[in-house]
C-alpha cells in the first residue's frame, strides 16, 4: 500500500476511530516542537493605541511568538473623539472598544489585571493575580498627572473639577457640567505646558464646547488660560474660531497671565502667577503630565518624568529587554498622540520580531497625523513622516505640515470627513 488515492484516504480517516486526526496532529506537532526552543513569550502592558497595536502587529510579524497583553480595564475609551462627546456629536459607546477581537483574531492572551511590579532582572511582571515570566516586555502606560503642580488640584479635586484628559467618566462629568450651566456662563479651560498628550487636543475641545454652547447657550463665553505662548495648529484654530464662533472665545497666553498656579475648588476660581483671579461656571483644568505610573514604579523614567528609549527599537535605555512606547516614551520629534503610539507600536513589534528571529530590523519609518474638528463640517490637520537618525527621531525633510490657511468650505468639510474615516481606521487597526 504505497499509494493512497483521495478516496482511500477518506476511507482510512473514517476507519481510524480513536486515532483521530487531531490527536495525531497534536502528537506530531509536539514531536517536531520538542526539537526546537519553546516559543518566546512577549508580555505587553497597557491596552491603549500603543500596546494594542504592538500586540496585533507582533503576531502578524512573528506568529510563533506567544503574546500576553495585560490591561486593567475590559473596555478602552479613546481620548481621540472624546471632544466630540463634549460637543454632542458622538456618544460614549461610539468611542468605547474592547479586546475580544485581538484575542480571537491574533491568538493574544488578554489578562485583565493591574500590574503591581516589574522585575527587569528576573524578567517577571507581578499582577494582582500572580507572576508572569517574559522574554521581552513592552510597556505602554500612557500618562499620569503631576498633581498639585497647580496648587489645590489633585485627584480628589478632579472629581468636581474635571481634567477629562483620560477619557471615560471624566468626559461625562465635563459634559454634564456644560449641560447644567446657564446660558451666559463662562467656561474656563487651562491647558498645560509642554510636553503633554495630544498637543491640539485642548483647542479642539474649545471648538467642540463652543459648538455645543453656540447651539444651546449662545450668550456663554470660553476663556483659555494657557500655560504656553503658542499652540498646535494655532493660526488654523483661530481662523476657524473667528469664522464659526465670533466673540465667544478668548485666549490668554502664558506670558500675558495665562499660567495658572492655584485653584480654589470651593469658589470655582483659578489664580494666575501674578494673583489675578478668574471665576468660572465650568472649569476644565488639564494638569501638567509625566509618564504613566507604571513607568515610575518600574524605574523606566529619568529626571524629566518620561522614559528614555532607543528611538529605533523603543528599548528602554535603563532596562534591557524592556520597551516603552506611546505617550510615556521620549520619541524625538514625534508628538504624544494615539497615532504616534500606533506607529511606534508597529516599529517596536518589528524590532522585537527581528531580535527574536535573529535578523536585522529594517530601518524604521513613523508617521503622525492629527485631525481636529473646529465644527462638525470643519476639519483641520497636521501631519508628518519621521525617520530615525543619530539625533533620534526627526521629521523627513519636506514632509508634513498643517492644512492650508484660508481653504474653502469644501476642503474643510473633506478633512472633517477624513477625520471620521481616520478614527474608524485607527481603532480597527489597533483593536480588531
Amino acid at each position: 500500500m504505497n499509494k493512497l488515492t483521495r478516496r482511500d484516504f477518506i476511507k482510512l480517516s473514517g476507519s481510524l476511530g480513536a486515532y483521530s486526526v487531531w490527536g495525531g496532529l497534536v502528537s506530531s506537532l509536539s514531536a517536531c516542537t520538542s526539537k526546537e526552543k519553546p516559543a518566546a513569550h512577549v508580555v505587553i502592558i497597557g491596552g491603549g493605541f500603543g500596546g494594542a497595536t504592538c500586540a496585533k502587529y507582533l503576531h502578524r510579524f512573528a506568529p510563533n511568538v506567544s503574546i500576553t497583553l495585560i490591561e486593567r480595564d475590559k473596555q478602552f475609551v479613546t481620548c481621540p473623539f472624546s471632544n466630540m462627546v463634549l460637543g454632542g456629536l458622538r456618544d460614549m459607546a461610539s468611542i468605547t472598544h474592547d479586546y475580544k477581537k485581538l484575542a480571537s483574531n491574533y491568538a493574544i492572551n488578554i489578562v485583565h489585571d493591574a500590574v503591581v511590579a516589574i522585575d527587569p532582572v528576573a524578567k517577571t511582571v507581578t499582577t494582582g493575580g500572580g507572576s508572569i515570566q517574559y522574554d521581552r516586555l513592552v510597556v505602554s502606560p500612557g500618562i499620569d498627572f503631576m498633581w498639585d503642580a497647580v496648587e489645590g488640584y489633585n485627584e480628589v479635586a478632579s472629581k468636581t473639577v474635571p481634567h477629562a484628559w483620560k477619557a471615560g467618566s471624566q468626559t461625562l462629568l465635563l459634559r454634564q457640567q456644560l449641560m447644567a450651566m446657564n446660558d451666559g456662563g463662562t467656561v474656563i479651560i487651562a491647558p498645560p505646558k509642554n510636553p503633554f498628550r495630544c498637543p491640539p487636543g485642548p483647542y479642539e475641545r474649545v471648538s467642540m464646547m463652543a459648538h455645543y454652547l453656540k447651539h444651546h447657550k449662545p450668550k456663554s463665553k470660553i476663556l483659555i488660560l494657557d500655560a504656553k505662548d503658542k499652540f498646535s495648529k494655532q493660526s488654523l484654530f483661530m481662523q476657524g474660531w473667528d469664522a464659526v464662533y465670533p466673540g465667544m472665545i478668548e485666549w490668554v497666553k502664558g506670558s500675558s497671565g495665562g499660567i495658572v498656579s492655584r485653584i480654589d475648588v470651593k469658589t470655582n476660581e483659578l489664580v494666575n502667577e501674578v494673583g489675578d483671579r478668574f471665576k468660572g461656571d465650568v472649569i476644565n483644568l488639564i494638569p501638567p503630565q509625566k509618564a504613566g505610573a507604571l513607568a515610575h514604579i518600574a524605574g523606566l523614567t529619568d529626571q524629566t518624568g518620561w522614559c528614555p528609549v532607543n528611538q529605533r527599537t523603543f528599548e528602554s535605555k535603563i532596562h534591557k529587554d524592556v520597551h516603552v512606547i506611546g505617550d510615556a516614551s521620549m520619541a524625538g520629534k514625534m508628538p504624544k498622540s494615539g497615532f504616534a503610539a500606533n506607529s511606534q507600536g508597529k516599529v517596536c513589534a518589528a524590532a522585537i520580531a527581528a531580535s527574536l528571529g535573529g535578523y536585522d530590523m529594517p530601518d524604521p519609518s513613523y508617521v503622525n497625523t492629527c485631525y481636529s474638528l473646529v465644527a462638525p463640517d470643519y476639519g483641520i490637520s497636521v501631519a508628518a513622516v519621521y525617520k530615525v537618525t543619530d539625533k533620534g527621531i526627526v521629521k523627513v525633510e519636506g514632509s508634513g505640515g498643517v492644512s492650508p490657511m484660508d481653504a474653502d468650505a469644501t476642503f474643510r468639510k473633506q478633512e472633517a470627513v477624513y477625520g471620521a474615516g481616520w478614527y474608524a481606521s485607527i481603532t480597527s487597526d489597533a483593536f480588531s
Partner: protein, 102 residues
C-alpha cells in the same frame, strides 16, 4: 500500531511539521512592510479601510506609485496626501505600492 496507522501517523507528522514550520518561518519584516504599515492608521490594516478614507488594498502597483508621486509633486490635488507623499523617495513609494498591490 498497525502498518496503516503507522503510515497515517507519518502523513500527519509531515503535514503537522509543514504547518508548524510555515508559521515558524513566517518571513522577515521587510522595509516595504515597515513603510506600508504606517498607511494603515488611516487606510486600514493592509489598506482595507473600514470608513470614509479610500481603501488601497489590491490596487495595481503602477497606479498606486503614480498616484503617490503625483500627490508628492503637486500634480494631483489632495487634502493631506501631498504632505505625506513628500516624506518618501521614488524607491520607497514603489515599495509601498508593491505591498498594497500584493
Amino acid at each position: 500500531m498497525n502498518s496503516t496507522q503507522r503510515l497515517f501517523h507519518t502523513m500527519v507528522m509531515v503535514l503537522g511539521c509543514t504547518l508548524l514550520s510555515s508559521s515558524v518561518n513566517a518571513g522577515k519584516v521587510t522595509r516595504g512592510m515597515m513603510l506600508a504599515n504606517s498607511c494603515a492608521a488611516c487606510h486600514g490594516t493592509d489598506g482595507k479601510s473600514p470608513g470614509s478614507i479610500p481603501a488601497i488594498y489590491g490596487k495595481p502597483a503602477a497606479y498606486l506609485s503614480e498616484t503617490l508621486m503625483d500627490f508628492r509633486d503637486g500634480k494631483r490635488p489632495s487634502t493631506v496626501m501631498g504632505r505625506h507623499a513628500k516624506g518618501y523617495s521614488d524607491e520607497e513609494i514603489k515599495l509601498i505600492a508593491d505591498f498594497f498591490a500584493k
